[in-house]
């Protein structure tokens, strides 16, 4: 796995953005950027190439599920894998995210091991599909 891939972290809480960033650093991924809701995330995504989006669901402005749909609906962004990291844990929400095209779903609170495991699975599937 190329550890230099560019990752966008989207969460309205600065603590959670830092946590995800630090955990990605622990796993060897240092090329990250941050956004605090779906609108600012889309602006970042349109500015430069990104290889992965890690996003929360519940955010003011544009929530993560709408960001996911916007990414899948934009020809230039639609192939970017999206990992949802969220406290939204209703069965129908997980199904909604899957139908919208999510690549992985991590329920908060999560452990570092779970995040690492999910990232590895996303990359593994993308590697197999490439």
């Amino acid at each position: 796995m190329d550890k230099n891939i560019r990752i966008l972290i989207v969460d309205d809480f600065s603590t959670m953005r830092r946590i995800v960033k630090n955990l990605l650093n622990d796993l060897g991924f240092f090329n990250t950027a941050e956004a605090d809701d779906g609108h600012s995330a889309l602006a970042e995504l349109r500015k430069g190439p990104f290889d992965l989006v890690v996003t929360d669901w519940n955010m003011p402005g544009m929530p993560g599920i709408d960001l996911l749909r916007a990414i899948r609906g934009d020809a230039a962004l639609s192939r970017i894998p999206v990992l949802m990291v969220t406290a939204e844990a209703k069965r129908e929400q997980i199904i909604e995210a899957a139908q919208a095209g999510v690549n992985g779903y991590v329920i908060k609170p999560f452990t570092a091991a779970t995040l690492g495991d999910k990232l590895a699975k996303v990359f593994e599937r993308l590697g197999a599909a490439a």
Binding site: I19, A87, I107, A112
Partner: protein
């Protein structure tokens, strides 16, 4: 001031209007005039509900004054309660950042140690780093408590705004389409665990 019968003039006028409305409704019903019958019945219903609505609006204004604009600095107003809750979110966020700073410092200090000379030492350093990662992830509780508190703040603000503009036809409600936030035991349905989510996504082909 009362009349000779002990009924106030305004009340007597009202009673007379009510009687004529009732007579008109009865006459319309007997003559088969549906439109006039409905109009008179609607007027009677309005007559009946008006004092209730006026009472509710007055009560809401008094409550709004007591809990909102009339905040007296004695910790009693709804806006003040919201500010206090937002302060809790802010200080717990700052505290989490401080803990994350310390975890990062410890990681850097660990990096200044001489290279491990035995496999056992290397395994210990790796175990410490793994625990630092889990401590980092554990700070995520601030995000969860923050989401719950922000939801309560939004509800309190909706109640406060609603008290100032009571409209019986539009009950108070949250305009919250961003998600439900963390599930609270005893209040929300049991949330899916990570294992449930994995199984569900797997069944959906992910």
């Amino acid at each position: 001031m009362s009349t000779a019968t002990g009924v106030a003039p305004a009340q007597a006028d009202g009673r007379q209007a009510l009687e004529s409305c009732l007579h008109a409704a009865l006459a319309a019903l007997e003559s088969g005039d549906d439109r006039a019958w409905r109009a008179n019945v609607d007027e009677l219903i309005q007559w009946r509900t008006q004092p209730l609505v006026q009472g509710l609006v007055r009560l809401a204004r008094e409550l709004e004054q007591a809990l909102g604009a009339g905040g007296t600095g004695r910790n009693g107003s709804l806006p003040e309660a919201c500010l206090r809750l937002e302060h809790v979110v802010k200080i717990s966020e700052e505290s989490s950042h401080h803990t994350l700073d310390l975890i990062q410092d410890c990681g850097m200090l660990l990096g200044t140690l001489p290279d491990a000379s035995t496999e056992e030492q290397a395994a210990t350093v790796a175990a410490i780093r793994s625990r630092f990662s889990e401590m980092t992830a554990a700070q995520g509780v601030q995000d969860l408590t923050g989401q719950i508190i922000r939801r309560v703040v939004e509800l309190v603000r909706a109640v406060h705004a609603g008290l100032g503009a009571v409209d019986p036809a539009r009950p108070l409600q949250l305009h919250h389409h961003h998600g439900s936030g963390p599930a609270v035991a005893g209040l929300d349905p049991k949330p899916a665990s990570q294992e449930d989510a994995n199984a569900l996504l797997s069944a959906l082909g992910l």
